[in-house]
Each structure stands twice: as C-alpha cells, then as structure tokens.
C-alpha cells in the first residue's frame, strides 16, 4: 500500500514536471477579439464613425450658431448658455475625432505603397484631411505632424493651424493623384461595399477631395499660401455626400441625428432639452425671409413651432414634443414607427450628410466672388438654394416628393426684394458674400451646423445685432451670455482637459474662449 502511494507521488511528480512547460503556458491567444484587421474591414466602420462624430459637431454648431436653444422645463444648462466654457465642454469632439483619425491612419499605414490598395489609401487620406479640418476649425493649432504615431510619440507637438491647412490641401491633391494612378493600373481592389459614402464611385471621391480643398482655400481667407491653388478637372460635388452603412430602426443602428433628437430604436423619446432657436426661425416665418417651403419641410407645426432664445429659462418656454420640433410629420408621431419624412431628421434610415451639394455650390459661388475660381456666381448661388431644397425634400430612401425646383423658384420670387435671396441685388463683393453665407446658413440648419458656425466666425454673417437689448430674432447670442466679445459670442472651444493633463508641455497656454480666435476668424 505505502509503496503504491509512494510511487503515485513520484509518478505524479515526474508527470507534471515532465510536461512541457512551454506547451502548458502557451495559451495566450485571444479568443475574444481580432488582433488584426484589413483596410476593407476598417474603412466602413471609420466612415460610419465619422458620421456619428459629425452628429456631435452638428450639435455643437447648432448650440453656438443659433439653430438650437434650451427647451422649457429643463435647467442646469450652465456653460451651454453662459458660454463660460471650461476644458470639459465639447471635449468629446477632440477625443472622438482623433480616435476616428487613427482608423484612417491605420488604413494609410497598411496600404502605403501598395498599388492594389490605391483607392483605400486615397479615401483614407481624404477622410483624414476632412477630420483634421474639423479639428483646426474648432481648436486652431492641433497636433498634426506628430499625431497618430502611437507609442512612437506619446506627447505630440502642436502644428501651426495655417501649416496644417497648407498640408491638407497637398494631401488632397496627393489622394486625387493616387486614385488616378489606381485607375491607370490593373488589379486594383475596388472600394466596393466598404465605401458607405460613395458606393465605390472614385470620381465622386475626387470631387469630394476637390470640394474639401476648395473649402480649405475659401476658409483660409487669404491667410495661407497654398502650394497648389488649381483644382483637378474632376470638378466639385454636385450631389450630396451622404454616409449610410445601412441605417435602420435597430439598436445603435439608427441615423445618429434621428437617434439624438427623434426617437430611440424602441420608440422612446430622444433628448428633449433643446428646441429650435428663434433666430434661425426668422429666416422661415417671414420675420426676415418668407420660406414656408423649407420651414414646413423641417419644422413640426410650422409656423407655430415652439422656439426659444438661447439662455431664456422660465416656465413660459415651450417644451419639446415627443420626436422634437425637427421631426415635421403631424401624421405619425408614434416613436416605434415614426420616420420617412422630409427635413433634417428624415427618419432612422436616412444617410448622414458629410458635405451637401448646397454647401458645395455656395463654396464655389464664394470662390468665384473672391477670385479663386472662374464661373458665374449667381448661377452657383441659385444652384445652392435649389440643392438645399432638394436635400430637405428628400425622404430617407432618396426619393423626393413634391417639386423642390419649383418651390425654390417660388421662394426666390417671394423674396425677390431681398439681396439675401436675389443675388442680382447684391452688388458689392461684401453683399454677395453676405448673401452666399446667409443662404448657406439657412441650408446648413441642423444639416452641418458646425460649418455655419465656422462661417459665421469667419465672415460675421448672417448679420446679427450687437447692441444691448437685441431680441432673439436679432441675435443668436445667449440672453445670459458672459462673453466679453462685441457680439456676446465665444470665439472657440478650449482644448480638452486631457491635453492639459497628458500633453501639458505642448498644449498652447493662455487660450481664452472670448479672445483667442481660429486663424481665419474675423
């Protein structure tokens, strides 16, 4: 008995020690998550995340740019209405944009020098330029040259904003050239279904690149010396650039704007603490301009839509209906089935606009007015208005009920006395720019609101009244603004606190939300 036990002990000992240690311990392969991914897998996700980020940028622009105001019944808006921003306000824009840029950078790194992946490389490069412009326009100098290098540079230095603009323009040229070389080569991998922006149409990618480059050069306002101010023959976008991976009424798969302001996938109300701003509403309800067409396409109960001036908090302020005032339908306001409508929210299946044809035309019009392009500014201006009608009339499935072109003509006729609509009445360059930017302001309402906020800061259009006691139709500045600027508006967002904590030697110091301006700002 004892012998058996003794042998058992020795036996177990040999058995266990004899087992290969290495084999026993080599079990650290991850069964839960991928540890690599191809460009085809990263691109659709990166584009879709860009769309989500643009929703956040839209909210930021809509708050600051006079499209949204606080709704009745809610309190605690704090810096959102006082403009006394701290480093926590809008910090998400910074982190989510850099996070998204890393995905594009990964595609570029994986495809660099590989001719077969030219289109992926170019698409990622264009989207990287798009993302960095969003950052510069919100923060001015940002890490660019040193950024997105992972552990190779943990504290990236900040690049001068003008230098970034200059390089982004070159990057867009390079992307167009990469696509052209891809088209000339053989065996190039199509973007195919990975391209949830242009469905694999590389010509539209090139047009998008040209339009982004135009946006950079128009916005630079003569303050940047670009290497190349000519544009490739592919032209500019004439249709809306919409990202749509297959948005649907499903958990986390709804159009992000619908999810934020309309209804959740299960039909519960989305955020109800914001309603339309009285200021922008005056461009529809006849106070400044008469536009029952687009007003009715966007707003619920137009023209009796509830509006507010930012900052006014008392119990007379309208509260938001289920589905918000930006969901115009009066027929179906049941959360679980609502949607399929015109305007800015449209429905859970709608694509998310990255850059609309209207914006493209208004950029071109200004380009012509400022001598960056040749062409007919009036035609481009009118095309911009028509394109805005077309986008707003469109349903989620891409069909367009009604007649946007005819309604746009009626709109121009109804307001033919206004130089803001009738381009012929805008004679000076300044008046023309005001007309273009104001129409762009109307066209970007809750579409790409941040672009309108950028253009306001660059041009100070649409015109607002700065005198004390200005009403909510005269200015979109908050009634409880603590800003010390003449227009009572802040000039920029602060760098997020994380930069102060984790990149403190590089982050620019002494930034003020009331006096520090983006380099192109007026």
């Amino acid at each position: 008995m004892n012998k058996i036990i003794a042998f058992l002990f020795i036996g177990i000992g040999f058995l266990v020690f004899g087992t290969s240690c290495k084999k026993y311990l080599d079990i650290n392969d991850n069964p839960n998550q991928a540890t690599s991914a191809t460009p085809q897998l990263i691109l659709p996700q990166a584009l879709t995340t860009t769309a989500s980020n643009l929703n956040a940028f839209n909210s930021y622009g809509a708050q600051l740019g006079g499209y949204m105001a606080n709704a009745g019944g809610f309190g605690g808006f704090g810096a959102s209405i006082s403009y006394n921003f701290s480093s926590t306000n809008f910090a998400g824009l910074w982190t989510s944009t850099y996070d998204n840029l890393e995905d594009y950078q990964t595609i570029i790194n994986e495809t660099e020098g590989q001719a077969t992946f030219s289109f992926f490389n170019a698409a990622a490069r264009i989207m990287r330029a798009h993302g960095f412009q969003l950052l510069v326009d919100a923060y001015n100098d940002v890490p660019y040259t040193d950024a997105l290098q992972g552990a190779n540079n943990l504290t990236p230095a900040y690049t001068d904003a003008k230098e970034i603009y200059k390089d982004l323009s070159d990057q867009l040229d390079r992307a167009i050239a990469t696509i052209d070389s891809g088209l000339a080569g053989t065996g190039v991998t199509d973007l195919g279904s990975s391209d949830v922006l242009f469905d694999g149409n590389v010509t539209r990618w090139k047009q998008f690149a040209n339009t982004l480059k135009l946006r950079l050069q128009v916005r630079a306002n003569g303050k940047v010396t670009f290497n190349n101010t000519t544009f490739s023959s592919d032209g500019f976008l004439t249709t809306d650039a919409l990202i749509n991976p297959g948005y649907r009424r499903d958990n986390a798969r709804q159009n992000p704007k619908w999810e934020s302001w309309g209804f959740t996938a299960t039909g519960s109300d989305a955020l109800k603490s914001w309603i339309p701003n009285t200021f922008v509403f005056s461009f529809y309800n006849g106070v400044k301009l008469e536009d029952p067409y687009r007003g009715g396409a966007i707003y619920y109960n137009f023209p009796s839509t509830g509006t507010n001036r930012l900052g006014v908090e008392n119990n007379s302020i309208a509260s938001s209906p289920s589905g918000s005032f930006w969901y115009p339908s009066s027929k179906n306001r049941t959360g679980a089935s609502a949607g399929d409508t015109t305007g800015v929210l449209k429905g859970p299946e709608a694509g998310m606009p990255v850059l609309t044809a209207a914006e493209s035309y208004f950029l071109q019009a200004e380009g012509v007015v400022r001598g960056l392009l040749t062409g007919n500014a009036a035609t481009l201006f009118n095309n911009g208005i028509v394109a805005s009608f077309k986008y707003l009339y469109q349903l989620p499935d891409g069909t367009t009920p009604g007649n946007p072109t005819a309604d746009a003509a009626s709109y121009m006729a109804d307001n033919s006395e206004s130089p803001l609509v009738n381009f012929a009445l805008a004679t000076s360059t300044e008046q023309q720019v005001e007309a273009i930017i104001t129409q762009k302001y109307i066209a970007l309402n809750m579409v790409n609101s941040d672009e309108a906020w950028n253009e306001y800061r660059r041009t100070h259009y649409p015109t607002i009244v700065n005198t004390p006691g200005a009403t909510g139709t005269q200015t979109f500045a908050s009634s409880v603004s603590e800003a010390t600027t003449p227009d009572k508006l802040p000039t920029r967002a602060l760098y997020p606190g994380s930069e102060g904590s984790y990149n403190s030697t590089n982050v620019p110091k002494g930034i003020s939300v009331y006096s520090s301006k983006i380099f192109w700002a007026l």
């Binding site: 910090a91 552990a151 996938a265």
Partner: protein
C-alpha cells in the same frame, strides 16, 4: 522506501549504543477535549534530549531509558511530567491560564507553525471573535479587529461587497486586495461574502508577503488564511441556532427643512420670495408656510394632488427596516481514525431598499480519515448558493427621491399601480420618476452557485517526512436576468407640461457565466530535530489554472408586455461572449531552522512561470527571509522574570513579483496584443462588417511588478500574560508598476499599457491588551489595535505626473495617483484662490470662479486606524464591545452635487436663501491687489436661477470634499450560557446560549460630512480609487438582533 527507513534506523541505532538498554517511545499529545495538541515539546527530564510532536500531536523519541521521565510542554498548556514507561497514547494536557499570544497557527500551505517561530506579523481571529456580532458576511466580522487591515464596503444593499486591503495599497492599478485562502486553497475574494461565518475555526491574517512562497505572487498583498472547522475525535454533538437581525438606516444625508418646490426661474412674488411651482423638482421655492398647496398638474379627469407645504420626514421613511433570518445547524463527530464536520446555513435577507430580497444557503462537509499508520486524508467541500431579487436602480431611485421636495411624503406614493397620483401617468413630478415605481420596474435577479473543495493526501513514509498531494477547486456558476418593464404614458400626460414623461421600452438582458479555478499542489515536508537545531523544510510545486466564460444577450422593445424573454424583443439582440484562460506554475522551497527553540531563521524561494506574459518575460524569481528570536527563552535572567513572560523579536525581508494585468474576471489573459473591435458605431449592419482599432496601446514586453519590503517588531507579554502586545514597523516599495495610463488622444490612442512608477507603503501596527481581572468568575480584557499608514506614490513616469484611478466623467473629479503624494488623492475642481488660499470673487457680482484645472483636494487613505475592544466574562455572561476609528483622510461625496441640484441639500439653505458674502473671499481691486471681501454679496442666494444649483457651486469638487474621519460602535454583544447544572437535568442538551448583538450601532462622522459613510467606496471592489462615495449606495445601516443556539 523501506530501505531508506531501515538505513535511518541504523543511524539511530548507532547513537543509541551509548545508552545501553534504551528504547523508542511513541505517544500522542491531546487537549482536554481530545483534540491533538500539535508541536508539543517532549523532553527527557534531566537531559538535553527532546523532540517535537507533529501537527497531529504524535511524537516519537528514541534512546529513552526505561526509568526516564518525560516532560510534555506546549504553549498555552500547563506542562506535565510523566513516566516514559506509562501509557503515552493519549497524554491529556490542560490549558494554562491566561491569554497567550503564542499559539500554533495554520499558516501558508496549511503548514501548522508555532507562532513564536514566525518572523513576520500574524494575527489570529478566532471563531468566537469573528461571529460575536453575527455578521452574515465574514468581512463584516473582521472589521476593526486586525491592525494594518482596512475593510471598505463597496456597496450597500442586501449583500454588501467588501474590499480587504492589508498595509495599504501597493499596485497603482492592479489588485491590492488580500489573498483569500480557504482550507489551503486560493479562492476568489467574492467567496468571503459567501462563506458561512459559523463554519470558520480561525482566520489567520498574514499582514505581509509571508505567504508568497507557498501561494505565489497573489499573496504579495498579504493573505487571509481561513480554516474551517473539523470534527473532533470522540466528541459527537449537534448544534442548532437561529439569529434574527434587524437592519435599519443609521445615517441620512443632512437636508434643509425650510424650502419647497419652485424657484426664481418662475419669478418672484410681491415679498421678493421666489415663486412656488407645483411641478418643480427643485426645492428653491418659497419658505414652508403650512398651507395646502397643489402638487403637479391636474390629472386628465381633473383631480389634483396636493400636500401641506411644511417639512415632512417622508424622505427618511422611504428606506425600510430590513430583516435577516439566519438558521444554522451543524454536526460534528470523530473517532480514532476519522473526524467529520457537517453544517448547513440558510440566511434570508430583506434589505432597506424597498423590495430588495436576498437569500443564501450553504452546506459544508469537512472530514479527515486516517488510512493505516502513514496516510492521512483530508477533505473539505463547501457549497453555497445565493439568490438576489433586487432593483439595479438604487442610484437613480435615490436621485429621484432627493428630487422630491421635503414637504412631500414619499411613502404616499408606494401604491403606484392603484393610486392615480402615484402612477407614472399622474405622478406630480414630470422630471423624476416615482422611486417606488423605479424600484418595481427595474429588477435584477441573480443566482450564484459556488462550490469550493479540497482533497489532500498526506503520506508519511517515515517520521518527520510528509509527502502531500492536494487538489483544490473553486467554481462559480452564475446567471442573471435584468428587466425593465414597458410603460406607456397617456397622451395627456405626455403633452401637458410634463414634457419629460416618455414611454419606457421593455428590455431584458440575460447573462450567464462560469469561473473555475483548479489548484494542484505537490510538496514534501521534512521535520528533524538535531540536538540544539531543528529543521523544517518544504519543497514543492504548484499548478494553477483559471478559466471563465461569459455570455450575455439582451433585447429591447419587448413586444408582449411582461414576457421577459430575449426572443420577445424587436431589432437585433445585443450579444456578447468572452472566454479566458490563464495558467501558472510555481516551484518553491521553504526552510525553517531553529536553534535551541529560541532562534528561528526562515527562508523561502519561489519561481513562477505565467501564461499571460510573453515567453521571454514569463519566468520570475523571488526570495524572502525572516528571523525570530525569543529572548525570554534565551536569556537566563528573562526566563525567570516575573515581569516579562514572553518576548519575541522578529524581522523579515521579502521580494515578490506580481503580474498585474486584467482583473479577477479575465485573469489578465490576452493583454499583450492590440485588439480590433467589431461592434463600433452599430456594426455589423446586416452583411456589412466593420472593425475599429481599439484605443489601448499595448506592449508585448510587460514585466511583473516587484514589491520589496521589510518589517520588524516584537511581541511582548508581561505579568503572567496579563499584558499582551505586539508592535511592527513595515515598509514596502513596489517598482515597475503595470499601468494603463492615459495618454494624449492625439497619439490616436487613449491609453498606454506599460511598466512604470513606484509606490511605497510604510507604517506601524500596534496591538495591546490588558487583563486586569482574572478569576474563577471574572475575566476582563480590554485593549485595541492601532495602525499608522503612510501610503505614497513615489513616481509614475517622466511624462505622466498622475494617473486616474476612478473618476466622475473623463478626466473629471475623482481618485488619482499623483507622484509624490498620498496614494490615492482626491483631485477635482476648486475655486480660484489668492496665494493665501482665499477664494477670489468678482468685484461686481461677488461670484467665485471655478478653477481651470483639477487640483489635489485631499488624501483619500486613512492615516490612522484604531480599534478598541473590551471583553468581560462574568460567570455565564459574556460581553464584548468593539469601536473603530479612522482618521486623517478625506472623501469626495458625489451625492452632494445631486442634493444641491435638487435644492434639498443642507448647504443650500445655510444663508437662508438670501444674498450672502462668499466666506473667506477676496476681490481684486483696480490696482490688482487682493482686498478682503466683507460686503460684496452674491446677488441670488437662491438656486434654480442662482448660485446653488449652478455649476459654479455644483461643479466645484472642493465643496463636497469632507473629512472622512469617523468613530463607529462596530460591534457589541451580550451572551448568556445556561449553566450546566441546569442542563444536566435534561441529559440531552449540552449547551444553550442566548445572545443579543448589534453591529454599527452608532456612528459619529466629521462635522462637515453631511452625506454618508466615508467607508464606502464608490469605485467598486477591484478599483484602487478609494475616497469616493456616491449615490449608488444605500444610506449606511445599523444591525441588531438576537441569537439562540443549542448544542446537543
């Protein structure tokens, strides 16, 4: 084997020749109850020849002359001298009087060692002390009883979780909790909350890294060695007991009692008072006036809710009296060859949160069996199942409740199904749900089954040599179902002013998981006495495997109401799956050398190989050494001292490697390669997949953290053990911390996992007890334990001055590790201050300004901990009491901003809602000088549109950082044993004990703490970011109850 044995006997024979007619005697030493007394010393009177009994009390002594007399001595027992030729098979020793610090304890590896041989600090908590307060949770029963140990509750509720940390925190972000060893098997810490305290024989607390050689690197945080009860030879008894405990809320946040709903946002009345609002949740309205005022909008049928506009204590009545019923039964028996212990416990708990229920049933079988002369088998098996039926919305309920003005009697809204004013449709507050509805509509059902078992075979081929094989298993089987009921509001209620009322979609989520740990040990132990020297050596190996799998599935938009099944949802169900496996091999050696029983040198070595590090880094080695010296046995003058009865000097040094990756759910597996996620931004969309680069930069070259530490101290007993004390000074430093640090997002990533930084923990642990009265009827002992702890972060890395541990919002206020500061510190926003610390206010508005960046606002680790206890025994009465104090630290109370938002916060009314000068403030005059502010008042002392509810108050973290100091009456109990003379008449009943006991009966907080128990940690069990209390925990409770136990 037989050959070796005979060779050894040949050697002994040679020695024996000198004495002629000598023989070998064997015997067994037992106590009065028949339990073996381990390690008794057996000396031949008049010689230097002695031996030591083994752990089972067996001894063997050769060369004993037939007429020799033997002295058998053991610590804690009176020595006995008897003839070597007598019957030695059952030598019964009687316990000597007095409390002795020096006893035999079961330490690492199940090795029983005399405490005097230990060169490191060891604290023994015996069963009677552990269960004095009848805590359902073992951790609750340990609170305040051990120097150097800090126990924090990390949740309230029906089964609170506890975080047990010894000697402060070492790892910045890794595990700092003490290792839990149950019957020699390492088990997850959650087992502590699922053990039947009645099953526990003793808990041996190893404050330092002393157990690391035998249990591996996890023991670098100290260890709790829990030994469950075994049966006793020759004693058969059955015990039953019943305990009923009542739990009630003992501390409420301090609220203002003067103002009700409304605020300046609604305008002012003719008297300048802010206007009342019937629907407002914020209490910034006019002062209470005792009139009846409406509540909410009229219902669709025109009915109007109302309340008297005066303070009502309904807020406090919301929390109910919880009742715990605990039933215990145990059976113990034993004969010459085997012992048997069996127990069962059922605990049924209702909590202070309305509707929260919990029950736990546990069952245990322990036994030993002797097979032949050389084989001992030990088995232990414990099975526990618990069931929760609770709400998972305690935090939001609490917030809902605080957002009810204090004139509203909350308890009126209990019957929301039948009462139209309590139903969500008609409930007066459009912004915050009825807390009773929240509790009923958000349920969490969880079930856990735990099995822990251990099987040990000990083979003793020859005296002094043991070969031990041991297999342990701990497994947890878990499932849960969380549900949210669908609720459809009426159109009227949604479209009156109640714009925040929105339909609630029904959701259900199900999860299931298992987690299994296998632990195999194989070691040899050799004990030998060589004249003045003794040797005890252990060598062995250990294999650990941890495996777990987690599945989760959820559905929203339930179609058929109340059918809580994941197939009943709309849209794509949410699914998740993860599995983990990690392994470790350890090889160790442990040698203890004794000289003349007063000097002991102990050294250990261990090498580990782990699966979770890269092959080139997976092996690491760590040694330790400690020394124990007993002057009271070594120095002649001390031996006979009337003053000093026992003095031990001890010192130890150790180095331990610990791989701090991951957590107790994933064991740190798969942390070395970057990952790509497939579910970002809603992916996949049908057949379209999309992946994103995850945000953590990983290093494939991670190394173990290395902790080096030393400790030294003494144990001193005086006046026949009427004074018992210990003192220990310790210091540890931990280098190459494995941390996941935040990095600038502009790198493309948010975090970097790397080895960097050093922490340090230094302190003093003292215990002292005095027994002034000891007689046949009386025994009075009092004393306590004190810990001084200096826990610091020495460095993190050159680029990173600080590391966030637990924060509210990204990079917001919270608990941080900061180089050169206490570990951790509370950081957050403060007001802008002048160089002397006065708050700078605006010269016109009188308003202060929030600082731009977060700064250090307090030290979150208690510098001083004190436990004071007393025990009085008078005849059949036993009384014990325990107080605990913690001090020298601060806490951030995340509840504060919520209270001030709601306007129920006490602070909001300290200026009676009038204009006020910000205290201790200065303004800057035209010359840029700081001028003391005595007259610039803040215009609006109201909230809602004024100071209190605004970010300028609520976002300033320092407003809610309070002293964490507290005193608690931790435990108090009184027990009475029915005298044996009475029981003897029954002939069946051997003992009856009745007792009343209470825990946390009273607590005294710092004056500025209006909020809650600073002992809570909002960050959870596995997070080192202590110092935060939140709204997710129910208010602190006191427990009191009574027990009846009967032994047959």
């Amino acid at each position: 084997m037989r050959k070796i044995a005979s060779l050894l006997s040949v050697l002994m024979l040679v020695c024996a020749l000198a004495f002629g007619q000598n023989r070998t005697v064997t015997g067994t030493v037992k106590d009065a109850s028949g339990n073996p007394v381990p390690f008794a010393t057996v000396t031949i009177v008049g010689t230097n020849t002695a031996t030591q009994a083994d752990a089972s009390g067996n001894f063997s002594l050769s060369n004993v002359a037939s007429n020799a007399r033997l002295t058998i001595s053991a610590t804690g027992f009176a020595a006995q001298t008897l003839s070597a030729s007598g019957n030695l098979s059952s030598i019964a020793l009687t316990r000597s009087e007095g409390q002795l610090a020096e006893v035999v304890v079961t330490t690492a590896g199940g090795i029983r060692v005399r405490q005097k041989e230990l060169g490191t600090t060891t604290t023994v908590v015996k069963a009677e002390s552990l269960t004095a307060g009848r805590a359902v949770n073992v951790a609750g029963g340990l609170q305040g009883k051990v120097a150097g140990m800090q126990i924090n509750a990390t949740s309230g509720g029906v089964n609170p979780s506890f975080r047990v940390v010894l000697r402060g925190q070492r790892s910045l972000t890794g595990n700092n909790q003490a290792l839990l060893v149950l019957d020699n098997v390492i088990v997850p810490n959650e087992i502590l909350g699922n053990l039947n305290p009645e099953d526990i024989e003793e808990v041996v607390v190893l404050n330092g890294a002393g157990a690391a050689a035998l249990y591996g690197s996890q023991a670098s945080n100290g260890a709790l060695i829990v030994t469950t009860k075994k049966g006793r030879r020759g004693v058969t008894s059955i015990g039953v007991s019943q305990t009923t405990t009542i739990e009630e809320v003992a501390f409420f946040p301090k609220i203002q009692k003067s103002f009700g709903a409304g605020g300046s946002a609604y305008g002012y009345d003719v008297n300048g008072q802010p206007t009342f609002s019937a629907i407002e949740n914020q209490s910034y309205g006019p002062a209470f006036d005792g009139t009846v005022r409406p509540l909410g909008s009229p219902l669709e049928n025109g009915l109007q809710d109302s309340a008297v506009y005066a303070y009502n204590d309904g807020h406090f009545k919301f929390w109910e009296k919880g009742i715990t019923k605990q039933y215990d039964v145990n059976f113990t028996s034993g004969d010459v060859n085997s012992t048997f212990y069996m127990s069962g416990q059922y605990a049924d708990v209702t909590g202070t949160t309305p509707g929260d229920k919990y029950n736990r049933a546990s069952f245990r079988v322990n036994g030993t069996r002797k097979v032949g002369e050389k084989i001992n088998i030990t088995y232990t098996a414990g099975y526990t199942q618990n069931r929760y039926d609770i709400t998972n919305q305690t935090g939001s309920m609490y917030a809902n409740m605080l957002n009810m003005p204090s004139n509203v009697d909350i308890t009126k809204y209990k019957n929301w199904k039948t009462d139209p004013f309590a139903n969500p449709v008609g409930y007066y507050n459009p912004w915050y749900q009825n807390p009773y509805f929240t509790a009923d509509n958000n349920r969490s059902n969880q079930r856990n089954d735990y099995l822990t078992g251990n099987l040990e075979i000990r083979f003793t081929p020859l005296p002094g040599l043991d070969l031990v094989a041991r297999q342990g298993i701990t497994t947890r089987n878990y499932s849960n179902k969380n549900t949210v009921g669908a609720f459809i509001y009426s159109e009227y209620s949604k479209h009156t002013e109640s714009s925040s009322k929105s339909d609630i979609a029904g959701t259900v989520s199900d999860g299931s998981s298992y987690k299994t740990q296998l632990l195999s040990d194989l070691f040899a132990q050799y004990n030998k006495d060589l004249g003045d020297f003794s040797l005890s050596a252990i060598g062995g190996g250990q294999w650990t495997q941890n495996q777990a799998k987690y599945l989760g599935i959820s559905a929203t938009g339930l179609v058929v109401p109340d059918l809580y099944n994941v197939s009943n949802g709309v849209g794509t169900p949410g699914v998740s799956e993860s599995s983990y496996k990690a392994r470790q091999i350890g090889v160790y050696g442990d040698v203890r050398l004794g000289f003349k029983r007063f000097l002991f040198l102990h050294g250990t070595v261990r090498n580990d190989w782990v699966s979770i590090l890269a092959p080139e880094n997976r092996s690491f080695f760590y040694p330790s050494v400690d020394l124990s010296f007993i002057p009271s046995d070594a120095i002649e003058t001390l031996k006979d001292s009337k003053v000093i009865s026992y003095l031990k000097l001890r010192a130890g040094w150790s180095k331990v490697g610990q791989v701090n990756l991951g957590n107790t759910d994933n064991f740190g597996a798969y942390y070395l390669l970057p990952t790509y996620s497939s579910s970002a931004s809603g992916f996949p969309y049908g057949s379209l997949a999309g992946y994103t680069v995850d945000n953590i930069l990983v290093s494939n070259n991670l190394q173990p953290e290395i902790t080096k530490g030393y400790e030294g101290g003494f144990d001193l007993n005086m006046f026949s053990n009427r004074f018992v004390s210990t003192l220990t000074v310790f210091s540890t430093k931990t280098d190459a911390q494995t941390v996941t640090t935040r990095v600038s997002n502009t790198t493309g990533f948010s975090n970097l996992r790397t080895n960097t930084g050093q922490t340090q923990s230094q302190g003093v642990e003292v215990t002292a007890h005095v027994t002034p009265l000891r007689s046949r009827d009386w025994n009075v002992t009092f004393g306590g334990n004190y810990t001084y702890l200096d826990n610091k972060v020495n460095s993190i890395s050159a680029d990173l001055p600080r590391l966030s541990l637990a924060t509210y919002g990204t990079d917001g206020p919270g608990s941080y590790a900061v180089a050169g500061q206490a570990f951790p510190v509370i950081m957050g926003f403060d007001y802008k201050r002048d160089p002397e610390g006065h708050v700078i206010v605006d010269q016109l508005t009188g308003l202060p300004t929030k600082s731009d960046t977060i700064s250090i606002l307090g030290n979150a680790v208690a510098k001083h901990k004190l436990g004071l206890d007393a025990g009085v025994k008078f005849r059949n009465f036993s009384f014990s009491v325990l107080f605990e104090y913690r001090g020298g630290y601060q806490a951030y109370n995340a509840m504060g901003p919520e209270l001030d938002w709601a306007g129920t916060g006490y602070r909001t009314a300290i200026y009676n809602r009038e204009r006020f000068v910000y205290p201790n403030s200065v303004y800057i005059d035209a010359d840029g000088k700081y001028i003391t502010n005595t007259n610039i008042t803040i215009k609006n002392g109201n909230g809602n549109n004024g100071f209190w509810s605004d970010g300028i108050n609520r976002d300033v973290t320092s407003n809610y950082v309070t002293s964490g100091d507290f005193w608690k009456l931790r435990e108090i109990s009184l027990a009475y044993d029915i005298p044996e003379s009475v029981l003897n008449t029954t002939k069946v009943i051997k003992g009856i004990r009745v007792s009343v006991q209470a825990r946390n009966l009273f607590m005294w907080m710092a004056k500025d703490n209006y909020y809650t128990d600073p002992e809570y940690s909002d960050a959870g069990n596995d997070n080192n970011g202590i110092g935060l209390t939140g709204i997710g925990q129910t208010p602190p409770s006191r427990f009191y109850g009574a027990t009846l136990s009967v032994r047959f």
